[in-house]
Symmetry: C2
Subunit: 317 residues, 2 copies
């Protein structure tokens, strides 16, 4: 039996046929429409992708165990509804019911960060850990939680928004998309790192960060890391501060959940041990009851570009 | 069948015989010894209390379903061990094994805030809610979580320390007992409120807070509330800020857990609706996805002085 995983993003809807061991045997993608309407639901595009991957993988729907969909935004996983989504303008779309008209299969939908956490737990770096915090450092900060081997969603799948945990309640703290100031996301996302990098570059015209930004044609999440690795003091300061922001939010979550492991995903996780080693040390030292409580593994997520498809497919299992 | 609940505190060990409906039929307390040693474990004092309440309630041990113990500090509930406790200096005490020598009964131990959360869920204001955040605003800020009707403890019962969630990562933030700066506890505890009240009194010699503090013979958690209720501007400012600190931490937790209800306990909760009404409004407006996500009840805890005994007894159920 195969699983179908659908990964809805701001730019495209990706889909894949996946074995129960987490191998993708066929995948494809189509662009998202500019604006979905009452007459043309996003479910129609999801159906297109499902049909394409079934055809491409040369399988029969009879051999499919179920369909899982990962979707950014607030999802009611029990009712199968997208409550709302920011990046693609969607409000109250009953995706699962709409797709049930076409497929006589179990269909699941969940938040994309939740899917990614589940995917890592079932198929990736989170295998073998019972309690996992998954954090993705990208445009924003997404969090997903595995508690006692199961995906934790909060009541009505309306929790797990760890990126919107205020870590600086000062009135001068950066404004977040969510309306609050000082959310973890405004300090620890890749977007935030780029802002921090630009600010430091303005203050340090001699910093190597300028050289690397020029070479890459832009300031990216890598700029400060590259400079720091070359011994650039201003770059190192950016990296040190950025890691302390990541750590601050992680310690908060660890003090609540005490997981076996923290998995870090998103573009920034390409820094691998350079990122995870100091954070692991800081989290284990900074947590409450450090001397007595069980220690915590910190690793990078392993599913990378396929995390969305695999995580969505894992909903079926 | 009866339950025995033991509530270990810094000053005394309280105990009670409790019906399965949550009625205390007999209770008593003994003071804690200055310092427990390898030769004289705290288990000996707990045994004293158990024997006293069994005698006082005129019941037979055969009619006891089990014994529950609530204990401040880091508790390994699975192994029945106090990992460590701050206020009574204890390290690695195998309380359950020590008591098993005397009683052929199921014996449970858990963190006192966890017990209080469970007690409210089983016997108090949390009845009927499946997902509850319990917060006690006292010397510190204790948190307990009911998820899907069950007590959530974190891996190895080493989580649920929501009071040690940093909400102000500034280097100028107040230092917490745990070693971090800017923990929620340093802003939202009764201790913090008294500090905030004293600071405001220094700045406002004409404030009514001076009058109320004089009448009570000290600055307490009530001082600013009393002044605010009389229209005192400086008192109102202290109360408003204090409520915003409580709200900040609650919104962080709500964004992760999305509970049905938040229950507020501890001395400050005596302010009842004066405290909970504005906090309920602020939490529901400030949370992520406020427009779409389910709303959250905010109430005061109901078990008051007996919370410790009842919460510990609830461990048995």
């Amino acid at each position: 039996m195969y699983l179908i995983g659908i990964d809805v993003g701001g730019m495209s809807i990706k889909g894949g046929v996946v074995t129960q061991e987490g191998e993708i045997i066929f995948k494809t993608a189509i662009p998202t429409t500019e604006k979905y309407t009452a007459d043309y639901s996003i479910s129609e595009d999801i159906k297109k992708v499902i049909d394409l991957v079934v055809e491409g993988a040369k399988i029969n729907l009879k051999d499919v165990k179920g369909i899982g969909i990962g979707q950014p935004g607030s999802i009611d996983s029990k009712k199968g509804i997208i409550r709302y989504s920011n990046n693609i303008a969607l409000e109250r779309v009953p995706v699962v019911d709409e797709l049930k008209k076409y497929y006589d299969l179990p269909i699941y939908i969940n938040n994309d960060a939740n899917c990614a956490a589940l995917g890592e737990h079932v198929f990736g770096a989170g295998k073998g850990y019972n309690d996992v915090i998954f954090v993705t450092l990208g445009t924003g900060v997404g969090t997903g939680f595995i508690i006692d081997g199961k995906l934790f969603e909060g009541r009505e799948c309306a929790g797990t928004e760890g990126g919107h945990m205020v870590i600086n309640m000062s009135k001068d703290a950066p404004l977040c998309n969510c309306g609050q100031r000082g959310c973890w996301e405004t300090y620890a996302s890749a977007t935030a790192l780029m802002r921090q990098t630009k600010e430091a570059m303005d203050q340090h015209p001699q910093s190597l960060m300028h050289k690397f930004a020029e070479e890459e044609g832009k300031v990216s999440g890598k700029t400060a890391f590259m400079a720091a690795k070359q011994g650039d003091k201003a770059g190192q300061e950016v990296v040190d501060n950025y890691m302390s922001y990541i750590t601050c939010g992680l310690v908060n979550l660890v003090n609540i959940f005490c997981p076996d492991a923290i998995l870090i995903g998103g573009g920034i996780s390409n820094e691998k041990e350079y990122l995870t080693a100091p954070i692991k040390k800081a989290v284990n030292e900074g947590r409450f009851g450090a001397k007595f409580n069980p220690s915590i593994e910190v690793k990078t997520a392993s599913l990378k570009n396929d995390a969305g498809i695999l995580g969505a497919a894992a909903l079926v299992l």
